[in-house]
């Protein structure tokens, strides 16, 4: 069993009248278990191209393809936009539902249920705007359904 922890700290000295200092930490466990840690993960850095630098239509890509083995379970997805120009952003979606924009330097961390029974599936998708985006992401999961090789 592996032990993986994810911690967040939100701080600001001037957003509110009093300082904000919020911290939380969690251990990434397998769903339905008391304390059995997730043992599988995938980490990647990649460039998300944009095919129309004029602000027109760009392509939406599957960043994490939905997989039956991950359905109704505890999976966790982390992603950061490594671009540095503040105007550059990517839109993160779960299939046809837009979650939000990751601007340069922004990160997100969410649980991912991978609801493959949803009419449109539940792949995590990404679309780059303004410019090509460099992303780093990590998926901690409890199994993936492997795809049989076409020539097997």
């Amino acid at each position: 069993m592996a032990t993986t922890t994810a911690a967040i700290t939100l701080t600001s000295s001037d957003l509110l009248t009093n300082a904000l200092a919020l911290s939380a930490s969690m251990t990434l466990y397998q769903g339905g278990t008391t304390a059995t840690g997730l043992e599988e993960f995938r980490m990647e850095r990649l460039n998300i191209p944009i095919d129309d630098y004029g602000g027109g239509t760009a392509t939406n890509f599957d960043l994490v393809k939905d997989t039956t083995a991950a359905t109704e379970d505890a999976n966790y997805f982390y992603c950061i936009n490594k671009n540095t120009n503040a105007t550059h952003y990517v839109v993160i979606s779960i299939k046809d539902e837009v979650i939000g924009r990751l601007y340069a330097g922004d990160w997100m961390f969410i649980p991912w249920d991978c609801d493959v029974v949803h009419a449109n599936g539940s792949s995590i998708e990404v679309q780059a705007f303004v410019a090509e985006a460099t992303l780093e992401y990590c998926l901690f999961h409890n199994g993936e359904t492997l795809v049989t090789a076409a020539d097997s």
Binding site: I8, L10, T11, G31, I80, D96, E97, W107, D115
Partner: protein, 141 residues
């Protein structure tokens, strides 16, 4: 202009042959700028004991905070299930409109950008009627 930062650290010494250590800090800014976000709901805590689908952040409220989070901006949402993990079978399913994002088990948290827009409520459905406490906070422009 305010300066608000969100830092994440993900570590494991044994999930792979080599240790992993991810650490990043984001400064929360308005869309496409280096100007800090200056509005927030503040930290809120909500108790409930229902397995029905419940709206946490409602875009249908014309005067609600969430109504200010119009599409195509730079809002960020923090949610934490404050309950103990217990036997690991109880969770809160977080949804965006009708689409499931994922499960927050006791002690779990999430932090994500929220485009918002009409009908794009952040909702939750608990796995049963056990009393559950959520803490949440929205940063927006």
């Amino acid at each position: 202009m305010a300066t608000t930062t969100a830092a994440i650290t993900i570590t494991s010494s044994d999930i792979g042959d080599n240790a992993i250590s991810i650490s990043n800090t984001a400064t929360l800014t308005t869309a496409g700028t280096n100007t800090g976000l200056v509005e927030t709901t503040g930290l809120a805590r909500k108790k409930f004991a229902s397995s029905s689908n419940i709206i946490l952040l409602d875009h249908g409220l014309t005067s609600g905070i969430a109504a200010d989070v119009t599409a195509d901006k730079s809002a960020k949402v923090y949610i934490r299930n404050v309950n103990d993990r217990g036997d690991g079978t109880k969770f809160v399913n977080i949804l965006l409109a009708a689409v499931e994002i994922g499960r927050l088990y006791g002690g779990d948290w999430m932090f994500f950008p929220w485009s918002g827009g009409a009908g794009k409520d952040v909702e939750f459905t608990a796995s049963d009627t056990t009393e559950t406490t959520l803490e949440y906070m929205v940063f927006y422009e």
